[in-house]
């Protein structure tokens, strides 16, 4: 019996020491927490990496979760910058007002949405009306738009992502997608699926394009067909382009401004361009 008692002590003590060592440090003050849209995430993450190289003493946390999470975290005061791929909503604005907070909005970059299909698909261009019909389930076979006789498999982002809403606004004229659409939790998953599925169509941010999927040229009413490229997006020829936002509390201006300024500087905007997003100027 005694043996057991002696054995127990060394079992617990080092364990407790490790725990104390892990937790007994005070929170650091200059930490910035950035949270929100998964679309802006890669951009912020790369900029953050570069920013930390210049300011090694600064501390930066980048978290995804979505535009909604970022903005509500801003209301709760648990993040310093909220990233959003959509404009702040009416309801969220009301909530901020009620909480007595004043937020500032900064457009940090633009993002073009590319419509992608499997590389084996002969279709290479679609009009907005055709896209609307496809995503609303009115056109269900590729031969209806000049392709092979194959069922169209439509991939979309999650119902509440900013990307989903923007595509709905811009391409579907605010009408709803069909209900049998496949919604993927992240853009990477859409790429993966479109690559594997011969009849697939989906939409992703320009930054995500890779050689394993084919981006379509798109024409809006009356316009010509344009391929989704940074140049076409900057000169306004490619139609499906949206701004990406940072929101922050006015009272935190001093804390967050250095990072935002860095992102807006030529060096930061170069990162934007390298990352596959559309720079401001």
């Amino acid at each position: 019996m005694n043996k057991h008692i002696r054995m127990k002590r060394p079992q617990t003590n080092p364990f407790l020491c490790v725990l104390l060592a892990l937790f007994a440090v005070a929170p650091s003050l200059s930490a910035q927490r950035i949270k929100g849209s998964d679309t802006v995430l890669p951009l912020t993450q790369e900029a953050g990496e570069a920013f930390l190289k210049i300011h090694p003493r600064a501390s930066l946390t980048v978290t995804g979760g979505g535009s909604g999470v970022g903005l509500s975290a801003l209301v709760e005061g648990v993040t310093d910058i909220a990233m959003a791929s959509r404009k702040i909503k009416f309801g969220e604005q009301m909530k901020l007002k009620r909480a007595g907070q004043e937020v500032k909005e900064v457009i940090v970059a633009y993002d073009a949405l590319a419509v992608i299909v499997n590389p084996g698909n002969p279709v290479s261009r679609l009009t907005r009306a055709q896209l609307e019909a496809i995503f609303r389930g009115k056109i269900t076979n590729w031969k209806q738009v000049g392709g092979e006789d194959r069922k169209i498999v439509v991939y979309s982002r999650e119902t509440s992502s900013g990307t989903y809403e923007f595509f709905k606004e811009s391409v579907l004229g605010n009408k709803n997608y069909m209900s049998s659409i496949l919604s993927m939790p992240a853009t990477g998953a859409i790429i993966q699926s479109v690559r594997q599925t011969p009849g697939a169509i989906g939409y992703v941010g320009l930054a995500y394009l890779n050689p394993h999927v084919k981006a379509l040229s798109v024409a809006y009413e009356g316009g010509g067909f344009y391929a989704p490229t940074v140049t076409n997006s900057m000169n306004g020829k490619y139609p499906i382009v949206r701004p990406l936002y940072y929101y922050y509390n006015v009272k935190d201006e001093a804390l967050v401004r250095p990072f935002i300024d860095y992102l807006l500087s030529p060096a930061g905007q170069k990162l934007v361009r390298d990352g596959g997003f559309v720079p401001l100027k």
Binding site: D38, G64, G65, G66, S67, G68, V69, L71, S72, V75, E76, K89, F90, G91, E92, M94, K95, R136, R150, K151, V153, E158, T159, S160, S161, G162, Y164, E165, E169, N174, K175, N176, S179, S180, I181, L182, S183, M184, P185, A189, Q192, S193, Q196, T197, P198, G199, A200
Partner: protein
């Protein structure tokens, strides 16, 4: 001595309190989930802060969420389709304002926007406008539609899940509930023969050496994180299914069921095996002595004796499958439709919560509807646990 007594009492108190922790946690879970979920039914059908305005001559009183969706999707194009006057429907959204009016006409801070909207709605008899309440509440020439709260029936029996549709989101949870049950059903259908076979094999057939190897392997299967299985499913199972069945798309309910079956297996096997091992040796010997073969002994004596243990293992497996989140999210395709075939994409409750909670504005109807899904999931598993409880208590008798 006094100190000793004090210690005694203190210890008893502390232990008693901690003994009730789990019950308290369950109560807290119920309270918090319910508090958020109940809020859903206090929301208006139309998005918060907005309203629907129609022409004064239009007799329509109120519209259901589904009708509103169909109108704004231009599926319903005439008021008489929903029992109104014979007049084509024209929809109007706030964004159209800037196309119709110059900034001067609207005013610097949109103070004249309300008048402009009213002008539009008054001008066309069939127009329905979706605009912020603040802008139009004082306008004379138009009529605001009566605002209904979201009805429980529409949510619980609705078969369309459009949580972010404007002007009025649809929270029909039926496709999600049936998707969950569908995937779980097939997962158990796949897991059951394998699970029972392995359980019987382990407890009755295999010799000790094989058991020593197989048992830890099964325990290990239990320990594999679900994300890893999901990752494996995405990289291997999904393309495999697509090619084998020549499907248009590989992310299907079946992919989810296969992964879930893998996750339910260890539970079924361990619990089932334990139950069969507890069958007394004397009973087996009696059966064998009567001339029954080992197989006859197994299915005539051992399995019937331990059937309630086996059942509770299976039910626990179902519980595990119902609540599984990440793996399912990664492989089922998440299409919110009523499932007709296991070879089509579908969407489960846990996957919906995990995927959408991130983007839903906190405190809004969408956020609350996800908590409602949480409540439903909680009750499904609660019910399953009660079943296990019942079955195993019958076992003891």
């Amino acid at each position: 001595m006094n100190l000793k007594q004090f210690c005694e009492v203190a210890m008893r108190r502390i232990l008693t309190v901690s003994g009730f922790t789990t019950s308290i946690v369950i109560l807290l879970i119920i309270t918090f989930l319910f508090a958020e979920a109940a809020g859903l039914f206090r929301n208006k059908v139309v998005e918060e802060g907005y309203t629907l305005a129609v022409n004064r001559e239009n007799p329509v009183e109120n519209l259901s969420a589904e009708q509103i969706k169909l109108i704004f999707d231009e599926e319903i194009t005439n008021w008489k389709q929903i029992g109104g006057i014979d007049c084509p429907i024209a929809t109007f959204r706030l964004e159209q304002l800037t196309e119709l009016y110059t900034e001067e006409e609207l005013g610097e801070n949109y103070e004249r926007a309300g008048d402009c909207i009213a002008e539009q709605v008054e001008g066309q008899r069939g127009m329905i406008a979706f605009v912020p309440t603040d802008l139009v509440k004082d306008q004379e020439g138009i009529r605001l539609l009566e605002e209904r709260n979201i009805k429980a029936g529409d949510v619980l029996l609705g078969d369309e899940w459009f949580p972010t549709a404007t002007p009025s989101p649809l929270f029909g949870i039926l496709p999600l509930v049936s998707g969950t049950l569908w995937v779980t059903f097939f997962a158990i259908l796949i897991a059951l023969p394998f699970g029972l076979a392995v359980a019987i094999y382990l407890s009755e057939v295999a010799d000790e050496r094989i058991r020593q190897v197989l048992k830890p392997v099964i325990e290990l299967l239990n320990g594999i994180p679900s994300v890893v299985l999901g990752f494996f499913g995405l990289a291997v199972v999904v393309p495999f299914l697509q090619q084998t069945f020549d499907l248009p798309v590989g992310e299907t309910g079946l992919a989810g069921s296969l992964i879930l079956a893998l996750m339910a297996l260890p539970t079924i096997i361990t619990v089932g095996e334990d139950a069969m091992r507890s069958c007394p040796v004397t009973m087996r010997e009696a059966s064998l002595a009567l001339g029954a073969s080992r197989w006859q002994t197994i299915y005539k004596v051992v399995v019937p004796y331990s059937i309630s243990g086996i059942t509770s293992g299976v039910v626990l497996g179902i519980g595990r499958a119902v609540g599984e989140t990440m793996a399912v999210l990664m492989v089922t395709g998440n299409a919110a439709v009523m499932p007709h075939s296991i070879l089509e994409p579908l969407r489960t409750i846990p996957a919906t919560i995990a995927a959408e909670l991130g983007e839903a504005p906190a405190g809004g109807a969408h956020y609350q509807s996800l908590f409602l899904l949480g409540v439903i999931l909680f009750f499904i598993t609660f019910f399953i646990n009660l079943c296990v409880e019942y079955i195993s208590s019958r076992n003891k008798r």
